[in-house]
Symmetry: D3
Subunit: 288 residues, 6 copies
Amino acid sequence: MTAGERVVVEPLPDLIVEPIVRLALAEDLGRAGDITSAACIPAEARLGLAFVARKPGVLAGLACARLAVAALDPGARFESRKQDGEAVAAGETIAVVDGGARALLAAERTALNLMGRLSGIATLTAAYVSRAAGTRARIIDTRKTTPGLRALEKHAVRCGGGANHRFGLDDAILIKDNHVAACGGVAEALRRVRAHAGHMVKVEVEVDSLAQLREALEEKPDVIMLDNFALADLREAAALVRGRVVLEASGGVDLDTVGDIARTGVDLISVGALTHSAPVLDIGLDAV
Amino acid sequence: MTAGERVVVEPLPDLIVEPIVRLALAEDLGRAGDITSAACIPAEARLGLAFVARKPGVLAGLACARLAVAALDPGARFESRKQDGEAVAAGETIAVVDGGARALLAAERTALNLMGRLSGIATLTAAYVSRAAGTRARIIDTRKTTPGLRALEKHAVRCGGGANHRFGLDDAILIKDNHVAACGGVAEALRRVRAHAGHMVKVEVEVDSLAQLREALEEKPDVIMLDNFALADLREAAALVRGRVVLEASGGVDLDTVGDIARTGVDLISVGALTHSAPVLDIGLDAV
Amino acid sequence: MTAGERVVVEPLPDLIVEPIVRLALAEDLGRAGDITSAACIPAEARLGLAFVARKPGVLAGLACARLAVAALDPGARFESRKQDGEAVAAGETIAVVDGGARALLAAERTALNLMGRLSGIATLTAAYVSRAAGTRARIIDTRKTTPGLRALEKHAVRCGGGANHRFGLDDAILIKDNHVAACGGVAEALRRVRAHAGHMVKVEVEVDSLAQLREALEEKPDVIMLDNFALADLREAAALVRGRVVLEASGGVDLDTVGDIARTGVDLISVGALTHSAPVLDIGLDAV
Amino acid sequence: MTAGERVVVEPLPDLIVEPIVRLALAEDLGRAGDITSAACIPAEARLGLAFVARKPGVLAGLACARLAVAALDPGARFESRKQDGEAVAAGETIAVVDGGARALLAAERTALNLMGRLSGIATLTAAYVSRAAGTRARIIDTRKTTPGLRALEKHAVRCGGGANHRFGLDDAILIKDNHVAACGGVAEALRRVRAHAGHMVKVEVEVDSLAQLREALEEKPDVIMLDNFALADLREAAALVRGRVVLEASGGVDLDTVGDIARTGVDLISVGALTHSAPVLDIGLDAV
Amino acid sequence: MTAGERVVVEPLPDLIVEPIVRLALAEDLGRAGDITSAACIPAEARLGLAFVARKPGVLAGLACARLAVAALDPGARFESRKQDGEAVAAGETIAVVDGGARALLAAERTALNLMGRLSGIATLTAAYVSRAAGTRARIIDTRKTTPGLRALEKHAVRCGGGANHRFGLDDAILIKDNHVAACGGVAEALRRVRAHAGHMVKVEVEVDSLAQLREALEEKPDVIMLDNFALADLREAAALVRGRVVLEASGGVDLDTVGDIARTGVDLISVGALTHSAPVLDIGLDAV
Amino acid sequence: MTAGERVVVEPLPDLIVEPIVRLALAEDLGRAGDITSAACIPAEARLGLAFVARKPGVLAGLACARLAVAALDPGARFESRKQDGEAVAAGETIAVVDGGARALLAAERTALNLMGRLSGIATLTAAYVSRAAGTRARIIDTRKTTPGLRALEKHAVRCGGGANHRFGLDDAILIKDNHVAACGGVAEALRRVRAHAGHMVKVEVEVDSLAQLREALEEKPDVIMLDNFALADLREAAALVRGRVVLEASGGVDLDTVGDIARTGVDLISVGALTHSAPVLDIGLDAV
């Protein structure tokens, strides 16, 4: 994505975001609050600040900044110039805020920690997405998220143009190698699951060979994950399946390999690094 | 650090770690729990698993894995083979665990998410520390941590041989550019702070030039942060101060520059990337 | 179901159940605890009690009773004689418990409130299930559950032989009349959803006529809900669809009508009353 | 009660109701929020809706609906047409609401689940109350309430014209059969309690025979519960006591028997079914 | 009370005490835990310590000490030598504990803060009680307790031989001057309350003159509070009432005046100072 | 301080204060709310009240009163006439409030409990401070605070003109006798701590003799606590140290001794009684 482009993403309800922001503020304020500003800054001082991108990237988490400011100064004015899912160039202003100086300085780190981290995820996701452009493959995340931030981080993946895998252990079925081993085979695992799964629950199974893929296909899962397949095997798998089942490539994916994987014809490429290893997007807060 | 070397680090109390682990488990289990294992794995099945490093690195967060397992199967046996602060080679076993199969599979992702993330921080810290070896400079963290995980991430920095900057806005004073601007100068800011700060609170001030450094020195802060100083200026600052005040270099630090910065004679080098951009350490959970 | 028959149901993790039990105990103990037992019963007195079904029914929620007792007397012995999903006759013993008299009497109401309510749901579900016996139709629940108890109540539906509809607004898509109206038609709503939904999310749409059903079928949703269809229309819908899509009958379902509805050939019959109007199963706690 | 009649009931403070409403919304929104509306409904769309009674009944819990809407759209307009404690006919509008379409649709189920459940309790209570009309007997609830909802459900009982028994184990003393057994008799239990109870705590004792009633009377408790007494025995008890002590009839009460019980002259009739087995009042949310 | 005497007091359930203890520990441990012990004390060091009274007093809150130790070292041995409600001499050992040195030192302040504060309340209560000895008057507390600690502080009052007034705004009715003013008189206030109060709720009214007392008596409240009555008026009130209603003297009570007040014949003397101004009992933790 | 004098104190963020206030309100409202006002006071009645000092003192905690009122009536008007840190005479008005009568009466006790307790601490602190006037000695608090209220109580100490010792076990190092014993001496303890402590953490050590003081001085801690030193020894210590290290006198401090101790030349005098034994400041709420 280049600056100005935008992925349209629906916002999370504040009811989900606000408790996380307040927890982060409480963690930072501790037992005595911001003792530096209390010592240096008059209580009545006001400040105008701008959130500015220091590096190019894709934004996610503006609501975190807005809610952090509102939690410490309900009367502050927060004006977004960009939106979640929007690409920015270095130096562009993301939002401007005007309010009590102490409140803004106390909210700064929480706002930046959250928005920077989430924008980092969106930016990395967009990089993967761009390398898969022109193919049918979508970039998806995993459950390798930061404890406590899963809802926000999966939102950030969407901001980068990616899509979401399941949100937890409870909302979809994913049969992995340990399950297959416990059941004595892919087909038996799928049969057990079929008998147990609700009608609103999708079923995916992980396979590690073309033979297992063929066995899985017989049982008609919704999705099959091809774990650590070589490119040639991915291609053969895609040819074999021809759209009857959704195919997810997993394992060994990085920015160098994702393009080739995408061109094998798989539907989905899951990338744990989107959430577990994305560097932060550098955003600063400047006086205006 | 090479495999087998170890930074001795005191553990955090479980009282601090356990609520974070339980929150992470609850986030993953959602409203219905692990529906895959419930469908595939008999309730009475047991499993023996090993946490194994897939890449070399420095460990942090073993307590998270132990507590995640215990939260879902209080009777499981968890045996550590390595300790926080210890360097491991790829393929080495970190811990073995034996317990109910469903509980272990449900705890797996939470355990790995936390231990992998914290070990990633420890590993990156160790890399910075090794490049500063032979100098007086210590590598320190910042407040650029993950919301909700600050205590754990700062522990991980110690595991990698780094040290901690302040833990929040309330436990030490750090006068930044906005504060200086509001007070009309470094010296005035330090005087205001001196009148306000308790006797158990250290005071640091950020300066962005040698002139400001000289002004700051007059007021005898405990620590002076040299923000984005060129190497030559860092050297001049260290020569000027000659140990009278602790000097912290900040800004523009990466693995390529940290060695040169360390050799300027500063006491501390703060690196936000330790906690905001460390890639996860790849750890897996294998059947034994 | 008759006494002794059993639906095999996987238990929820204690991590999900225990916080609910502790909240209920805290609500009942208030600020001063059980002042009656404190006044009447010596601190060292012990008691042996049996949970006994006063009416026939299907059990759910034994874990609640076990955890309520353990929360107040960690050393008490709790021995289940029956299991969740098992049908009992009036007078049968469900579990016996032995522990501190004050603790047991204080846990009694919480244990019975939860187990009675959940067993009431299981019992009512089993009644619906039995009337649909011999057909392809499964009895499913809705989101009309008690706030705070959804995980437990959906577990209770499974204990009665029913299956679960979605668990929340976030784990599956259900397009209702308001959504259709906002989109200007069933087909457009399904197209918008298709573009938005993740690959692990199933999609259901509500239709209120055979014409809408035909329109919906074109877009291949996973499930179609037939809202308040007459029996003849349900039959025609089932004939029309012939298994290509899962069909859910909804609205106007009670114990008198459910059999006829089941025989129309639909796959699912959703019954809000399972969780919003099930009378409690009468269970008592008797001295042994 | 017939439509338009009203029991005047004082509202609970929002401070008690709001946390329950927010917990229920969080349970329903899960980790991703309302994914259906996010896919179908434009973010800026607005909606006007009416809460409408589908069946006649007595209302309770309007504050839950108001607070659910406000939690998701603080700017929404919520206008009550009826009040808690008011009887409505089928088809009558209870409240109208105007606000963001996504917020209203996401709040709908929480609002209806709470208001429907509480109105169901009020409606059932009113039915019992009407059958006891013309007697001195008041209909009262028990501690057989839904865990987490006791404050709301006891409020609903008042909305139906009933009164409340104690709210927990800590605010009044109720000596039951197990306590009597542990003390070796009703009189001894009352003496022990008398020595222990504070001056602001009322004392009730359960008796299961006229002989025990006479023994209890000697010790002057505030209330005596006649447990499972035959009608003739209730009458004899009332004649014997002649207003000196409050008499509560308990056990075997249903809508068929409550009138006869009320005419025996007892002061109170406690009915567990008010809160443990009341069917929901059917309320819908219609476009306006 | 002299050392060795004991008021028999029933313990609070751990379920009520433990959350308070854990909150206090978390407040003290903060984000980094006990950094002094981590630096000085080897992880494996063990310690034997004794809780010792430095001044004579009456004990309350031993459970807090036991639970604080157990929360940080579940394997520690805690052995009580005294009990809640027992009078101790200066120098007497209250309990001995043996466990991990770091855990014990970290738990020390929380244990002492709670036990010292509660024992201070018990000790002050006992002083008031002893001055009222030989009269019918009981010493009672008020709602002037520490926010968050009401259950514990009212328990401490019982440990000192006092009794409890109501526990909150919800468990008993107390008509105060503002209510009387709003109703236009004591009698009208009592009539309104009578119509509203449940059968398990006691009713008290505050009066400030003998005339108001006579007006109140007509309405037969359970308790009448004589607010700031002179001694002669208290005597006249007691003579007038002759045991028909419980009389509570309130206002202007201190250790010098309580004896004379008790001898006027009132039943209860309420003392806010028991909980709002009791000095701590000095307890130390010594090596053994 | 005399009425009208004022210590300028920076307010705590509402984010820290509000959760404590809401917890206190919830504790007081219980499960049924204020049943007296519900029975006596019309729902629409309004009230104008004034918080009035009944005794002279120094104020702290006005924010608690403001937030308690706002929590129950967001539309109430709260107007402060005095500020935290300001001395008031008996009879002076602190704040006036105008709002719903039921809300104000329900908030009254919580507001007064918090403001009275905190003002009591400020008042006692001011008394100590005045006796040390004209010396270099500052009066400081300890960790002997009320569990859950540490942030508020340490703020109250500042309102009285005192200063704060550390806020928890984690924000500064204080080596006590047990640590010294475990290390085998003051010097060794300081060396271990020096190796472990971060650069933003101050180090204090407790000594109990002039010999230990000399040993400690060698290791250059930031602060030395002189525990239970006689006046002559305090004087000698101050002479010996001559400002090189901050000296804290501790133990045996009361209002009679504090002046003499202050005149020995120590820098700090710590007084546990400030927070563990301060009597409440009597504040009332009067109709206006």
